[in-house]
Amino acid sequence: MQEMKSETNQTGRFGEYGGQYIPETLMSEIDRLTAAYNHYKNDPDFKAELKDLLINYANRPSLLYHAKRMSADLGGAQIYFKREDLNHTGSHKINNVLGQILLAKRMGKTRIIAETGAGQHGVATATVAALMGMECEIFMGKLDTERQALNVYRMELLGAKVHAISTGTGTLKDAVNAAMQEWTRRMDDTHYVIGSTMGPHPFPTMVRDFQSVISKEIKAQLLQETGKLPDAVVACVGGGSNAIGAFYHFIDDSSVKLIGCEAAGKGIHTDQTAATLETGRIGIFHGMKSLFCQDDDGDIAPVYSISAGLDYPGIGPEHAALQAQKRVQYVGITDDEAVDAFEYIAQTEGIVAAIESSHAVAYVKKLAPTMRPDQIIVCNLSGRGDKDVAAIARYRGVDLHD
């Protein structure tokens, strides 16, 4: 099973997926980044500084929380939540951002750019840029800046400049396009912090490595508490970073079922979905060969999910490979199921989880009752749901004039 851990080769292939499909203009910079990453990831100084920031700034290790009420209520497996929502800035995004910006600093960069959808990754990036005294510009679809005006102001408050991108659908995909373009224009002093396990190599590998702290902690925490491995690990999948982070150190443990929950939106048989792994097909986009939601002619299709963080037409190449290898099972969770789970975990455990993470919780609700009480599910709570409360209210028909 060694190859299962899908170590990347030189050009970042995971099976047939991955690669570096980007303009030549960026390739030298990407080469430099790859070299720098390969160097610093083994550099004791770099590792020590990153560890210190993870502990003393991001608030790691995050709790592994035994959800006793929910376990009892569902009447099956013991459910544990990995509480990435308790990280500084409220999601797993900070793990990756700290790693990349620290790396950028070592590379001599003074300016950081990033894309953001709902704003989580943008806020994390603006945060760490402020902490490290770096210039920061965030690219965000115009529609998203309107839907998430508060997050725009939050990033500005942190000292970042936010660009509203009106090309295309004015959403996350277009923000990535714009950030890529900006990087092409100016790379000498600038690092582009991609927010998920996507894009050209080395991003999918690098982001995965920075996020793999999640499964490393889960393994140690659960072993200490129960002396066992989990029977299943469940995580939501947008670009795939929190999921691969939660899966990584279990990939070689064949007894551990790994389940990725993608956003089915109104249902995978409707055109209002973002379930790339179930409905997409292989393609080349945003620097990688992977699975994408596309129309008949190879154009990227508009996608839909109630969750802005899962509303992306692609998937990280490592997930495409893990699906092909049948190592990870990917399931679609509808808006309805996610909202139900959002409410359920709030009322059962007093945790307001991100609507993204609620997709994973929704699957746990189905899975747990089919398992024995001596079995264990670990569900990654990738973020907190404060940002989602207004949208959930709207979904339930409650009009908030906030």
Partner: protein
Amino acid sequence: MTKLQEAFTGENTFIGFTVAGDPSIEKSVEYVVAMANAGADVVELGIPFSDPVADGPVIQAADLRAFAAGITTDKIFEMVATIRQQTDVPLVFLSYANKIFDYGYDRFYQRCEELDVSGTVIPDLPVEERDELVPIAQKHGVAVIPLVAPTSGERVAKIVSGSQGFIYLVSSLGVTGMRDNVANDLTTTIEKIKAVTDTPVAVGFGIHTPEQVKQMNQIADGAIVGSGIVKLIEEQPNNATDAITKYVQEMKGLAQVK
């Protein structure tokens, strides 16, 4: 000597670009033919993509016009068939990788071969990923035109070795668009290219005056003009033929700049 290489044997080699289907299939055919008739040595035909990451706003807008006109890859091939009834100007496609990949590499290059399309420029297919496609293109006698950037540095040799058709040298950083000052350190890059291969070098991105075309033809083998032409279509979508003709003639040095 291939048809493409032949195109680089004259004076002021000029490659004109337009987005296929902008603003309509009929007009787009007319504008390609007009370019050819006006003296363009090669016409580069952009295949619209939903997410043209390497293009600036002018070409992005053209893509949208083409989509509005119902363009698809199949229709583009039909367009080329019509074009081929009127001109045998060398044609190359500018396409993002996914459009070709999703159409099927073999199927795509087979159609190119059938329609006498000489090459493909794929902005998001760097040398690292070329191998999956080049053998297929070669089988069909279609060139995969490599892009070299001012930032390519030591990568140049690797990129241009074994190249066919021509080499697309990106004149300056960033995406396509009109710029007034084309970077001057092109010469160094061209020397690096010439040290490895004698495939012709055409310079593109940011070129829009006859002087720039002349200048590029001095330091390189040709010039590519994209946004400059697309802008003319944007200005008068259905009546751009005269403007395009005049523009190409000026670029070729066949007419006086007004």
